[in-house]
């Protein structure tokens, strides 16, 4: 199938150098960590996204992100793309990220749009988890 070069590159770069592309985990019990996990193995994709934040003024800023994704090439590329968008953003800015931005950045084909939806859901859930701890 016709994946864009962007999806292929993102996937391959992430696979070849996972650490540089924020693959990994934080201790989910830490207070400054928020974890989101969406999807299901039976559907063929599961994304786990973790954010590490710091208070900054009257909000919180995402300082670091880790992720792991089980899924097709575009699911992995979508998570990796999302990670790039998150670091340094305030929670409000992160909440405003829409799946369309990932679709555009990676030129996802229509049947893979659900991958970007999943990525959007994962950050929403991670922020929710983080906020519930504050």
């Amino acid at each position: 199938m016709a994946y864009s070069k962007k999806v292929v590159d993102k996937f391959e770069n992430t696979l070849n150098d996972p650490k540089a592309f924020n693959v990994g985990r934080f201790d989910p019990k830490e207070e400054n960590v928020g974890t989101g996990m969406v999807g299901a193995p039976a559907c063929g994709d599961v994304m786990k996204l973790q954010i590490k934040c710091e208070p900054s003024g009257n909000t919180h800023v995402i300082k670091d992100v880790k992720f792991k994704t089980y899924g097709c090439g575009s699911a992995i590329a979508s998570s990796s793309e999302l990670v790039d968008m998150l670091i340094g953003k305030t929670l409000e800015e992160a909440k405003a990220i829409k799946n369309k931005e990932i679709v555009d950045a990676l030129e996802l084909p229509p049947i893979k749009i659900h991958c970007s939806v999943l990525a959007e859901d994962s950050i929403k859930q991670a922020i929710e988890d983080y906020e519930s701890k504050q």
Partner: protein
């Protein structure tokens, strides 16, 4: 041209044309070759083309020990399956309207069966066992008064497992029911002797056996006689069963491919069995690998494996220098795992993580070695990326997790 650095391990999907076959085909196209219409009875161009077609028919018949008069040329195994299933059903509809097939047939059988259901036929879809095999007893149980046809494949294209044609055929004979077999994956892989095998119709493909795409054949038994209603009318070629000008270059290609298959089957098999053994030994050293199919009852050229905690399409993308196919149809619009693996009762996540490796005549030992080393590496890396693998290492039973499905 495909980059030569890509290793081809998708022979069950199609094979390259053997160069010996291609050069033979070239003799039947150009002005200095035998380009005639085999149906032209009035000049030597026609006679020569007809001779070539009949010689090819003998080669095809010879590989499966049939009478050449029992071979009908078609455009491929899909047409042969259509012709057999619809042809028998429509011809014998006054005798009954019930057909038996299985859930893991090729779409070339399943889709015609669906069409026949729309025309008022009743179809029973047998469930395979966990290895992908239909037990003869299931066929016996499913046959009823109105049954006219049983259609089952010989070798499953995704799994490589074999059905017991002899036992199933004895049951259909006893019940006076026709037995059609899709043998697209069989030629050149296993011996078929239609002089003793109780099978009434059998479909063949050229391009799975080093012949060209676009040509196949249907075996239609003469004794006891099977009659079929044609799908294509227009000139009464092939004794009325399949009209249309024959394509001598394609037919000669299939004939030559099947002639070579007869001569080289043993050699091919020995080499491929060696690759299979080596591949299996090494791949099974990877943790949480599962074989789909039955190792004790399958052909060595097809090996279907699931790599738990890794999704199939990402694995295929990771294996970019290797041409293989995924049981997971995530590559299509359906986002469904393989219906074949599902029918075996495999969990969806294992069905999603399956890869079919298939070896062939032109596979080299170095292809197998290189694939194994890349496979090891990619599975490792994808597991490092996989939250499911992480949970598994943490001792979490994934079956007990409540997932946030979207």
């Amino acid at each position: 041209m495909t980059e030569k650095s890509t290793i081809y391990l998708d022979y069950a999907s199609t094979t390259p044309v053997d160069p010996r076959v291609a050069s033979k085909m070239m003799e039947y196209l150009t002005p200095d070759g035998e380009f005639g219409n085999p149906a032209s009875r009035s000049h030597r161009y026609g006679w020569k083309a007809d001779d070539a077609v009949e010689e090819a028919r003998s080669h095809v018949a010879n590989l499966v020990n049939a009478d050449p008069r029992e071979i009908v040329w078609t455009s491929g195994a899909t047409e042969a399956d259509n012709l057999a299933v619809k042809g028998v059903a429509r011809f014998y509809k006054s005798k009954g309207n019930h057909i038996i097939t299985s859930k893991i047939e090729h779409k070339a059988v399943l889709d015609p069966c669906r069409q026949l259901e729309r025309e008022g036929f009743e179809v029973t879809y047998l469930e395979p066992n966990e290895f992908g095999i239909i037990q003869p007893g299931q066929v016996k149980e499913a046959i009823k008064e109105s049954t006219i046809l049983v259609s089952l494949m010989h070798i499953n294209n995704e799994l490589g497992t074999l059905n017991d044609l002899q036992s199933i055929g004895e049951i259909t004979r006893e019940s006076g029911v026709f037995f059609h077999v899709d043998a697209a994956q069989s030629t050149g892989k296993v011996e078929i002797d239609l002089s003793t095998l109780p099978v009434d119709l059998m479909s063949f493909s050229a391009h799975k056996t080093y012949g060209p795409k676009g040509i196949g054949a249907l075996f239609v038994r003469r004794k006891p006689r099977v009659r079929i209603e044609a799908l294509i009318h227009g000139g009464g070629h092939e004794r009325g069963m399949r009209s249309g000008t024959l394509a001598p270059h394609q037919i000669v290609g299939m004939g030559e491919a099947f002639r070579i298959a007869k001569l080289e089957m043993t050699k091919d098999h020995e080499m491929i069995a060696k690759y299979h053994e080596k591949f299996l030994d090494e791949a099974m050293k990877i943790e949480h690998v599962y074989i789909n199919g039955d190792l004790k009852n399958k052909v060595p050229n097809i090996l279907n494996m699931s790599f738990n905690f890794v999704e199939g399409e990402s694995l295929i993308m990771g294996l970019k220098d290797i041409a293989v196919s995924s049981g997971s149809a995530c590559t299509s619009a359906s986002l469904e795992p393989s219906y074949v693996l599902r029918a075996l009762g495999r969990k969806d996540e294992l069905a999603h993580s399956s890869i079919r490796f298939s070896f062939g005549r032109f596979t080299k030992q170095s292809d197998v070695d290189k694939t194994l080393s890349i496979l090891n590496n990619v599975v490792d890396r994808l597991r490092e990326l996989s939250p499911l693998w992480e949970m598994h290492l943490d001792g979490i039973d994934l079956d007990t997790v409540t997932w946030n499905t979207h």
